[in-house]
Amino acid sequence: MRLESRHWVFLGLFLVILLSMLLQIDLGVKVSQDTQRMHDYIENLPPGSVLMLSFDHEASSLPEIRPLALAVLRHAFANGHKLIGVALLAEGTGIGYRLMEQVGKEYGKVYGEDYAFLGFKPQYIAAMLSMGESIRQTFPEDYLGRPYDDLPMLAGITNYEQVDGVISIADGSLTTHWVEYAGNQYGVRVSAAVAAAMVTTYDPYLASGQMHAMIGGLRGAAEYEQLIHRGGSGLRGMLAQTAAHVYVILMIIAGNVVYFLNRKKGRKR
Protein backbone atom coordinates (compact mmCIF):
# COMPACT_ATOMS: atom_id res chain seq x y z
CA MET A 1 0.00 0.00 0.00
CA ARG A 2 1.66 3.17 -1.21
CA LEU A 3 0.30 6.39 0.21
CA GLU A 4 0.86 9.73 -1.46
CA SER A 5 0.43 13.13 0.10
CA ARG A 6 -3.12 13.38 -1.15
CA HIS A 7 -4.04 10.24 0.78
CA TRP A 8 -2.87 11.83 4.00
CA VAL A 9 -4.91 14.93 3.19
CA PHE A 10 -7.99 12.76 2.59
CA LEU A 11 -7.44 10.68 5.69
CA GLY A 12 -7.05 13.79 7.83
CA LEU A 13 -10.31 15.27 6.57
CA PHE A 14 -12.11 11.98 7.07
CA LEU A 15 -10.92 11.68 10.66
CA VAL A 16 -11.70 15.30 11.46
CA ILE A 17 -15.27 14.94 10.24
CA LEU A 18 -15.77 11.49 11.75
CA LEU A 19 -14.53 12.57 15.17
CA SER A 20 -16.53 15.76 15.26
CA MET A 21 -19.66 13.81 14.33
CA LEU A 22 -19.06 11.11 16.93
CA LEU A 23 -18.61 13.74 19.63
CA GLN A 24 -22.21 14.81 19.03
CA ILE A 25 -21.75 18.26 20.49
CA ASP A 26 -24.33 20.83 19.52
CA LEU A 27 -22.57 24.09 18.88
CA GLY A 28 -25.16 26.74 19.51
CA VAL A 29 -25.68 29.06 16.57
CA LYS A 30 -26.65 32.68 16.37
CA VAL A 31 -30.01 32.86 14.64
CA SER A 32 -30.07 35.19 11.67
CA GLN A 33 -32.92 37.54 10.87
CA ASP A 34 -33.90 35.59 7.78
CA THR A 35 -34.32 32.34 9.68
CA GLN A 36 -36.22 34.05 12.49
CA ARG A 37 -38.59 35.51 9.92
CA MET A 38 -39.29 32.11 8.35
CA HIS A 39 -39.89 30.64 11.79
CA ASP A 40 -42.27 33.41 12.82
CA TYR A 41 -44.17 33.04 9.58
CA ILE A 42 -44.99 29.37 10.15
CA GLU A 43 -45.42 29.89 13.90
CA ASN A 44 -48.01 32.64 13.48
CA LEU A 45 -50.21 30.91 10.93
CA PRO A 46 -53.43 29.70 12.57
CA PRO A 47 -53.46 25.91 13.13
CA GLY A 48 -54.98 24.05 10.20
CA SER A 49 -53.53 26.43 7.60
CA VAL A 50 -52.70 24.80 4.28
CA LEU A 51 -49.08 24.94 3.12
CA MET A 52 -47.79 23.64 -0.16
CA LEU A 53 -44.26 22.25 -0.11
CA SER A 54 -42.62 21.95 -3.47
CA PHE A 55 -39.58 19.70 -3.74
CA ASP A 56 -37.68 21.45 -6.50
CA HIS A 57 -34.27 19.86 -6.19
CA GLU A 58 -32.14 17.05 -7.53
CA ALA A 59 -31.15 13.99 -5.60
CA SER A 60 -27.47 14.83 -5.25
CA SER A 61 -28.10 17.92 -3.13
CA LEU A 62 -30.02 15.84 -0.61
CA PRO A 63 -27.41 16.24 2.15
CA GLU A 64 -28.03 19.96 2.22
CA ILE A 65 -31.73 19.90 1.41
CA ARG A 66 -32.79 17.18 3.82
CA PRO A 67 -32.10 18.98 7.12
CA LEU A 68 -33.83 22.10 5.78
CA ALA A 69 -36.89 20.16 4.67
CA LEU A 70 -37.06 18.17 7.90
CA ALA A 71 -36.89 21.28 10.07
CA VAL A 72 -39.68 23.01 8.16
CA LEU A 73 -41.81 19.86 8.04
CA ARG A 74 -41.44 19.29 11.78
CA HIS A 75 -42.36 22.85 12.60
CA ALA A 76 -45.38 22.80 10.31
CA PHE A 77 -46.68 19.46 11.59
CA ALA A 78 -46.09 20.45 15.21
CA ASN A 79 -48.23 23.54 14.66
CA GLY A 80 -51.04 21.48 13.17
CA HIS A 81 -50.85 22.74 9.61
CA LYS A 82 -52.04 20.72 6.66
CA LEU A 83 -49.41 20.03 4.05
CA ILE A 84 -49.62 19.38 0.33
CA GLY A 85 -46.40 18.07 -1.23
CA VAL A 86 -45.53 18.37 -4.91
CA ALA A 87 -42.32 17.97 -6.90
CA LEU A 88 -41.45 19.97 -9.98
CA LEU A 89 -38.12 18.26 -10.60
CA ALA A 90 -38.36 14.53 -11.18
CA GLU A 91 -35.63 13.65 -8.72
CA GLY A 92 -37.34 15.47 -5.86
CA THR A 93 -40.38 13.20 -6.07
CA GLY A 94 -39.40 10.10 -4.13
CA ILE A 95 -37.40 12.14 -1.67
CA GLY A 96 -40.25 14.52 -0.93
CA TYR A 97 -42.67 11.69 -0.33
CA ARG A 98 -40.30 9.87 1.97
CA LEU A 99 -39.51 12.95 4.05
CA MET A 100 -43.18 13.82 4.52
CA GLU A 101 -44.03 10.26 5.43
CA GLN A 102 -41.17 10.09 7.95
CA VAL A 103 -42.06 13.32 9.75
CA GLY A 104 -45.78 12.57 9.47
CA LYS A 105 -45.17 9.36 11.42
CA GLU A 106 -43.14 11.20 14.08
CA TYR A 107 -46.10 13.47 14.76
CA GLY A 108 -48.80 10.82 14.35
CA LYS A 109 -50.24 12.44 11.25
CA VAL A 110 -52.50 10.53 8.88
CA TYR A 111 -51.88 10.47 5.14
CA GLY A 112 -54.77 11.95 3.26
CA GLU A 113 -56.14 13.78 6.31
CA ASP A 114 -53.19 15.82 7.50
CA TYR A 115 -50.95 15.69 4.49
CA ALA A 116 -50.88 14.50 0.91
CA PHE A 117 -48.19 14.10 -1.70
CA LEU A 118 -49.33 14.78 -5.23
CA GLY A 119 -46.14 13.71 -7.01
CA PHE A 120 -44.24 15.09 -9.97
CA LYS A 121 -45.37 17.22 -12.86
CA PRO A 122 -43.04 18.00 -15.78
CA GLN A 123 -42.81 21.49 -17.32
CA TYR A 124 -42.70 23.40 -14.10
CA ILE A 125 -43.87 26.76 -15.37
CA ALA A 126 -46.92 25.21 -16.96
CA ALA A 127 -47.55 23.24 -13.76
CA MET A 128 -47.31 26.35 -11.56
CA LEU A 129 -49.72 28.26 -13.77
CA SER A 130 -52.16 25.43 -14.14
CA MET A 131 -52.32 24.90 -10.36
CA GLY A 132 -53.42 28.52 -10.19
CA GLU A 133 -56.52 27.47 -12.12
CA SER A 134 -57.07 24.01 -10.69
CA ILE A 135 -54.86 21.78 -8.58
CA ARG A 136 -57.17 18.83 -9.21
CA GLN A 137 -56.76 19.11 -12.96
CA THR A 138 -53.00 19.41 -12.63
CA PHE A 139 -52.77 16.38 -10.35
CA PRO A 140 -55.81 14.16 -10.97
CA GLU A 141 -54.25 11.56 -8.69
CA ASP A 142 -51.63 11.58 -5.97
CA TYR A 143 -48.15 10.04 -5.95
CA LEU A 144 -49.54 6.68 -4.85
CA GLY A 145 -52.14 6.67 -7.59
CA ARG A 146 -55.16 7.58 -5.45
CA PRO A 147 -57.69 9.95 -7.02
CA TYR A 148 -57.58 13.55 -5.80
CA ASP A 149 -61.15 13.42 -4.53
CA ASP A 150 -60.46 10.39 -2.34
CA LEU A 151 -58.14 12.44 -0.10
CA PRO A 152 -60.27 14.14 2.58
CA MET A 153 -57.83 16.99 3.29
CA LEU A 154 -57.97 18.13 -0.32
CA ALA A 155 -61.73 18.60 -0.29
CA GLY A 156 -62.37 22.28 -0.73
CA ILE A 157 -58.93 23.04 -2.11
CA THR A 158 -59.32 24.14 -5.69
CA ASN A 159 -56.36 26.40 -6.36
CA TYR A 160 -53.87 28.74 -4.69
CA GLU A 161 -56.71 30.71 -3.14
CA GLN A 162 -57.19 28.02 -0.53
CA VAL A 163 -53.45 27.63 0.02
CA ASP A 164 -51.91 29.88 2.67
CA GLY A 165 -48.40 29.67 1.32
CA VAL A 166 -45.97 27.85 -0.93
CA ILE A 167 -42.53 26.83 0.31
CA SER A 168 -40.14 25.95 -2.48
CA ILE A 169 -37.39 23.60 -1.35
CA ALA A 170 -34.78 24.10 -4.03
CA ASP A 171 -31.16 23.75 -5.06
CA GLY A 172 -31.48 25.74 -8.26
CA SER A 173 -33.45 28.43 -9.99
CA LEU A 174 -36.95 26.95 -9.78
CA THR A 175 -37.88 29.21 -6.88
CA THR A 176 -37.58 32.18 -9.23
CA HIS A 177 -40.45 30.79 -11.25
CA TRP A 178 -42.57 30.23 -8.17
CA VAL A 179 -42.09 33.89 -7.34
CA GLU A 180 -42.69 35.13 -10.85
CA TYR A 181 -45.62 32.94 -11.82
CA ALA A 182 -47.42 31.65 -8.75
CA GLY A 183 -46.50 34.63 -6.58
CA ASN A 184 -46.81 37.56 -8.93
CA GLN A 185 -49.72 36.27 -11.00
CA TYR A 186 -51.83 34.44 -8.45
CA GLY A 187 -50.82 36.33 -5.35
CA VAL A 188 -49.86 33.27 -3.34
CA ARG A 189 -47.25 33.86 -0.66
CA VAL A 190 -43.98 32.21 -1.71
CA SER A 191 -41.17 31.30 0.70
CA ALA A 192 -38.11 29.18 0.19
CA ALA A 193 -35.69 26.75 1.79
CA VAL A 194 -32.64 26.65 -0.47
CA ALA A 195 -29.10 25.34 -0.77
CA ALA A 196 -26.46 27.75 0.57
CA ALA A 197 -25.12 28.44 -2.90
CA MET A 198 -28.48 29.91 -3.98
CA VAL A 199 -28.94 32.34 -1.10
CA THR A 200 -27.28 35.29 -2.80
CA THR A 201 -29.36 34.67 -5.93
CA TYR A 202 -32.58 35.03 -3.99
CA ASP A 203 -31.59 37.89 -1.72
CA PRO A 204 -33.01 40.51 -4.12
CA TYR A 205 -36.43 38.78 -4.12
CA LEU A 206 -36.47 38.74 -0.34
CA ALA A 207 -35.47 42.39 -0.19
CA SER A 208 -38.18 43.40 -2.65
CA GLY A 209 -40.80 41.47 -0.72
CA GLN A 210 -41.67 39.24 -3.67
CA MET A 211 -40.50 36.36 -1.53
CA HIS A 212 -41.92 36.18 1.96
CA ALA A 213 -39.20 34.33 3.87
CA MET A 214 -36.14 32.21 3.17
CA ILE A 215 -33.74 29.88 4.96
CA GLY A 216 -30.56 28.63 3.38
CA GLY A 217 -27.95 25.92 3.72
CA LEU A 218 -26.93 23.69 6.56
CA ARG A 219 -26.42 26.75 8.71
CA GLY A 220 -30.00 27.87 8.11
CA ALA A 221 -31.19 24.39 9.05
CA ALA A 222 -29.16 24.48 12.27
CA GLU A 223 -30.62 27.86 13.22
CA TYR A 224 -34.11 26.62 12.51
CA GLU A 225 -33.59 23.49 14.58
CA GLN A 226 -32.48 25.69 17.44
CA LEU A 227 -35.63 27.79 17.14
CA ILE A 228 -37.97 24.81 17.22
CA HIS A 229 -35.94 23.17 19.99
CA ARG A 230 -35.45 20.00 18.09
CA GLY A 231 -31.89 19.06 17.27
CA GLY A 232 -31.27 17.55 13.86
CA SER A 233 -28.55 17.01 11.37
CA GLY A 234 -28.21 20.76 10.88
CA LEU A 235 -27.07 21.40 14.43
CA ARG A 236 -25.20 18.10 14.57
CA GLY A 237 -23.37 19.03 11.41
CA MET A 238 -22.23 22.45 12.61
CA LEU A 239 -19.26 21.15 14.57
CA ALA A 240 -18.15 18.99 11.64
CA GLN A 241 -18.73 21.91 9.32
CA THR A 242 -16.57 24.24 11.40
CA ALA A 243 -13.90 21.58 11.88
CA ALA A 244 -13.75 20.88 8.15
CA HIS A 245 -13.44 24.58 7.49
CA VAL A 246 -10.53 24.93 9.87
CA TYR A 247 -8.99 21.85 8.29
CA VAL A 248 -9.08 23.42 4.82
CA ILE A 249 -7.44 26.57 6.23
CA LEU A 250 -4.70 24.41 7.76
CA MET A 251 -4.21 22.60 4.46
CA ILE A 252 -3.67 25.90 2.65
CA ILE A 253 -1.13 26.95 5.26
CA ALA A 254 0.57 23.54 5.21
CA GLY A 255 0.83 23.66 1.43
CA ASN A 256 2.62 26.99 1.63
CA VAL A 257 4.95 25.86 4.42
CA VAL A 258 5.98 22.84 2.33
CA TYR A 259 6.44 25.05 -0.71
CA PHE A 260 8.67 27.61 1.03
CA LEU A 261 10.71 24.93 2.78
CA ASN A 262 11.35 23.19 -0.53
CA ARG A 263 12.30 26.48 -2.15
CA LYS A 264 14.80 27.17 0.60
CA LYS A 265 16.28 23.72 0.18
CA GLY A 266 16.47 24.26 -3.57
CA ARG A 267 18.41 27.51 -3.11
CA LYS A 268 20.97 25.94 -0.79
CA ARG A 269 21.79 23.38 -3.40
Binding site: I17, S61, L62, P63, Q241, H245, V248
Partner: protein
Amino acid sequence: MDIGTIVAGILTLAILTFLYRDNPIYKMAESILIGVAIGYILVITWTNSLMALLFKPLFGAGEGWLLVPLLLGLMMFGRLFKKTSLLSRIPIGVLIGSGAGVAIPAMLEARTLRQLSATVSPVIADGSLDISMLVILVGVLSTLIYFYFSREQVGWWGKTAKLGTYFLMIFFGTTFGYTVMSRMSTFIGRMEFLLTDFLRIIN
Protein backbone atom coordinates in the same frame (compact mmCIF):
# COMPACT_ATOMS: atom_id res chain seq x y z
CA MET B 1 -32.75 -2.53 8.86
CA ASP B 2 -34.46 -2.54 5.51
CA ILE B 3 -32.70 -3.91 2.48
CA GLY B 4 -32.70 -0.54 0.72
CA THR B 5 -30.51 1.00 3.43
CA ILE B 6 -28.09 -1.94 3.23
CA VAL B 7 -27.78 -1.62 -0.55
CA ALA B 8 -27.40 2.16 -0.34
CA GLY B 9 -24.80 1.83 2.41
CA ILE B 10 -22.69 -0.69 0.56
CA LEU B 11 -22.79 1.36 -2.65
CA THR B 12 -21.88 4.52 -0.73
CA LEU B 13 -18.81 2.81 0.68
CA ALA B 14 -17.97 1.41 -2.76
CA ILE B 15 -17.82 4.93 -4.25
CA LEU B 16 -15.74 6.19 -1.34
CA THR B 17 -13.05 3.57 -2.04
CA PHE B 18 -12.07 5.70 -5.03
CA LEU B 19 -10.34 8.03 -2.59
CA TYR B 20 -7.66 5.41 -2.09
CA ARG B 21 -7.42 4.65 -5.78
CA ASP B 22 -9.31 3.15 -8.68
CA ASN B 23 -10.27 -0.47 -7.89
CA PRO B 24 -12.67 -3.18 -9.03
CA ILE B 25 -15.25 -2.32 -6.36
CA TYR B 26 -15.39 1.31 -7.46
CA LYS B 27 -15.40 0.29 -11.08
CA MET B 28 -18.37 -2.00 -10.53
CA ALA B 29 -20.28 0.70 -8.63
CA GLU B 30 -19.49 3.21 -11.37
CA SER B 31 -20.69 0.83 -14.09
CA ILE B 32 -23.94 0.20 -12.25
CA LEU B 33 -24.44 3.93 -11.67
CA ILE B 34 -23.92 4.80 -15.33
CA GLY B 35 -26.22 2.02 -16.50
CA VAL B 36 -29.01 2.77 -14.05
CA ALA B 37 -28.74 6.51 -14.70
CA ILE B 38 -29.14 6.00 -18.45
CA GLY B 39 -32.10 3.67 -17.83
CA TYR B 40 -33.65 6.21 -15.49
CA ILE B 41 -33.33 9.16 -17.84
CA LEU B 42 -34.73 7.06 -20.70
CA VAL B 43 -37.86 6.28 -18.70
CA ILE B 44 -38.30 9.82 -17.41
CA THR B 45 -37.78 11.32 -20.85
CA TRP B 46 -40.18 8.84 -22.39
CA THR B 47 -42.98 9.71 -19.98
CA ASN B 48 -42.31 13.42 -19.53
CA SER B 49 -41.23 14.42 -23.00
CA LEU B 50 -42.30 11.89 -25.60
CA MET B 51 -45.61 10.82 -24.08
CA ALA B 52 -46.62 14.09 -22.40
CA LEU B 53 -45.47 16.53 -25.06
CA LEU B 54 -45.68 14.51 -28.23
CA PHE B 55 -47.58 11.24 -28.47
CA LYS B 56 -50.54 12.00 -26.18
CA PRO B 57 -51.37 15.39 -27.72
CA LEU B 58 -50.59 14.19 -31.24
CA PHE B 59 -52.48 10.91 -31.29
CA GLY B 60 -54.83 11.56 -28.39
CA ALA B 61 -55.86 15.14 -29.04
CA GLY B 62 -54.99 15.21 -32.75
CA GLU B 63 -52.68 18.20 -32.58
CA GLY B 64 -51.30 17.89 -36.09
CA TRP B 65 -48.64 20.59 -35.76
CA LEU B 66 -46.70 18.14 -33.60
CA LEU B 67 -45.82 16.20 -36.75
CA VAL B 68 -43.02 18.75 -37.25
CA PRO B 69 -41.09 17.97 -34.05
CA LEU B 70 -41.90 14.27 -34.54
CA LEU B 71 -40.28 14.38 -37.95
CA LEU B 72 -37.29 16.32 -36.61
CA GLY B 73 -36.89 13.78 -33.82
CA LEU B 74 -37.09 10.83 -36.21
CA MET B 75 -34.36 12.39 -38.35
CA MET B 76 -32.01 11.94 -35.41
CA PHE B 77 -32.46 8.20 -35.85
CA GLY B 78 -30.72 8.65 -39.18
CA ARG B 79 -27.47 8.64 -37.23
CA LEU B 80 -27.85 4.95 -36.57
CA PHE B 81 -27.10 4.11 -40.21
CA LYS B 82 -24.28 5.34 -42.42
CA LYS B 83 -26.44 6.21 -45.41
CA THR B 84 -28.95 8.35 -43.53
CA SER B 85 -26.63 9.91 -41.00
CA LEU B 86 -26.68 13.30 -42.74
CA LEU B 87 -30.38 13.71 -41.94
CA SER B 88 -29.50 14.38 -38.32
CA ARG B 89 -27.95 17.70 -39.35
CA ILE B 90 -31.41 19.16 -39.79
CA PRO B 91 -32.67 18.73 -36.20
CA ILE B 92 -29.23 19.74 -34.94
CA GLY B 93 -29.51 22.85 -37.11
CA VAL B 94 -32.86 23.60 -35.47
CA LEU B 95 -31.29 23.34 -32.01
CA ILE B 96 -28.22 25.39 -32.82
CA GLY B 97 -30.13 28.03 -34.76
CA SER B 98 -32.83 28.55 -32.18
CA GLY B 99 -30.17 28.45 -29.46
CA ALA B 100 -28.40 31.33 -31.18
CA GLY B 101 -31.68 33.19 -31.60
CA VAL B 102 -32.33 32.90 -27.88
CA ALA B 103 -28.76 33.71 -26.92
CA ILE B 104 -28.33 37.01 -28.77
CA PRO B 105 -30.93 39.03 -26.87
CA ALA B 106 -30.56 37.01 -23.67
CA MET B 107 -26.80 37.50 -23.51
CA LEU B 108 -27.13 41.19 -24.27
CA GLU B 109 -29.78 41.64 -21.63
CA ALA B 110 -28.63 39.47 -18.74
CA ARG B 111 -24.90 39.38 -19.26
CA THR B 112 -23.99 42.67 -20.82
CA LEU B 113 -26.48 45.49 -20.44
CA ARG B 114 -27.66 44.60 -16.96
CA GLN B 115 -24.12 44.14 -15.66
CA LEU B 116 -23.21 47.44 -17.24
CA SER B 117 -26.10 49.37 -15.77
CA ALA B 118 -25.59 47.79 -12.35
CA THR B 119 -22.08 49.22 -12.36
CA VAL B 120 -23.23 52.77 -12.95
CA SER B 121 -23.49 54.62 -9.69
CA PRO B 122 -22.24 58.02 -8.61
CA VAL B 123 -18.58 57.87 -7.60
CA ILE B 124 -18.83 61.31 -6.08
CA ALA B 125 -22.03 61.69 -4.09
CA ASP B 126 -22.81 64.79 -2.03
CA GLY B 127 -19.32 66.08 -2.51
CA SER B 128 -17.56 63.04 -1.04
CA LEU B 129 -15.86 60.16 -2.78
CA ASP B 130 -17.56 56.77 -2.57
CA ILE B 131 -14.57 54.44 -2.33
CA SER B 132 -16.51 51.21 -2.91
CA MET B 133 -18.00 52.59 -6.10
CA LEU B 134 -14.60 53.73 -7.28
CA VAL B 135 -13.16 50.25 -6.59
CA ILE B 136 -15.97 48.66 -8.58
CA LEU B 137 -15.43 51.03 -11.48
CA VAL B 138 -11.69 50.47 -11.53
CA GLY B 139 -12.21 46.71 -11.17
CA VAL B 140 -14.64 46.44 -14.07
CA LEU B 141 -12.57 48.65 -16.37
CA SER B 142 -9.21 47.03 -15.64
CA THR B 143 -10.61 43.52 -15.97
CA LEU B 144 -12.24 44.44 -19.28
CA ILE B 145 -8.86 45.75 -20.42
CA TYR B 146 -7.33 42.42 -19.46
CA PHE B 147 -9.86 40.77 -21.77
CA TYR B 148 -9.01 43.14 -24.63
CA PHE B 149 -7.25 41.12 -27.31
CA SER B 150 -6.39 43.63 -30.03
CA ARG B 151 -3.55 45.38 -28.26
CA GLU B 152 -0.33 44.11 -26.73
CA GLN B 153 -0.30 44.35 -22.95
CA VAL B 154 2.62 46.76 -22.58
CA GLY B 155 3.12 50.16 -20.94
CA TRP B 156 0.25 51.68 -18.96
CA TRP B 157 -2.17 49.47 -20.82
CA GLY B 158 -0.30 46.38 -19.70
CA LYS B 159 -0.14 47.63 -16.12
CA THR B 160 -3.89 48.23 -16.11
CA ALA B 161 -4.46 44.75 -17.49
CA LYS B 162 -2.27 43.38 -14.73
CA LEU B 163 -4.37 45.23 -12.18
CA GLY B 164 -7.31 43.47 -13.80
CA THR B 165 -5.72 40.08 -13.08
CA TYR B 166 -5.46 41.05 -9.41
CA PHE B 167 -9.17 41.71 -9.33
CA LEU B 168 -9.75 38.38 -11.06
CA MET B 169 -7.68 36.60 -8.43
CA ILE B 170 -9.62 38.26 -5.62
CA PHE B 171 -12.79 37.00 -7.23
CA PHE B 172 -11.51 33.45 -7.69
CA GLY B 173 -10.14 33.23 -4.15
CA THR B 174 -13.35 34.60 -2.69
CA THR B 175 -15.55 32.21 -4.66
CA PHE B 176 -13.43 29.23 -3.69
CA GLY B 177 -13.53 30.15 -0.02
CA TYR B 178 -17.23 30.86 -0.16
CA THR B 179 -18.07 27.50 -1.75
CA VAL B 180 -16.05 25.30 0.62
CA MET B 181 -18.87 25.32 3.16
CA SER B 182 -21.45 23.76 0.86
CA ARG B 183 -18.96 21.19 -0.49
CA MET B 184 -18.19 20.04 3.02
CA SER B 185 -21.86 19.70 3.88
CA THR B 186 -22.38 17.15 1.10
CA PHE B 187 -19.88 14.80 2.67
CA ILE B 188 -21.16 15.48 6.18
CA GLY B 189 -24.58 14.48 4.86
CA ARG B 190 -23.25 11.18 3.53
CA MET B 191 -21.44 10.50 6.80
CA GLU B 192 -24.64 11.16 8.66
CA PHE B 193 -26.36 8.53 6.54
CA LEU B 194 -23.54 6.04 7.10
CA LEU B 195 -23.29 6.61 10.84
CA THR B 196 -26.99 6.84 11.71
CA ASP B 197 -28.97 4.83 9.15
CA PHE B 198 -26.45 2.28 7.95
CA LEU B 199 -24.00 1.58 10.78
CA ARG B 200 -26.24 2.94 13.55
CA ILE B 201 -23.31 4.23 15.58
CA ILE B 202 -25.05 7.48 16.46
CA ASN B 203 -28.76 8.22 16.59
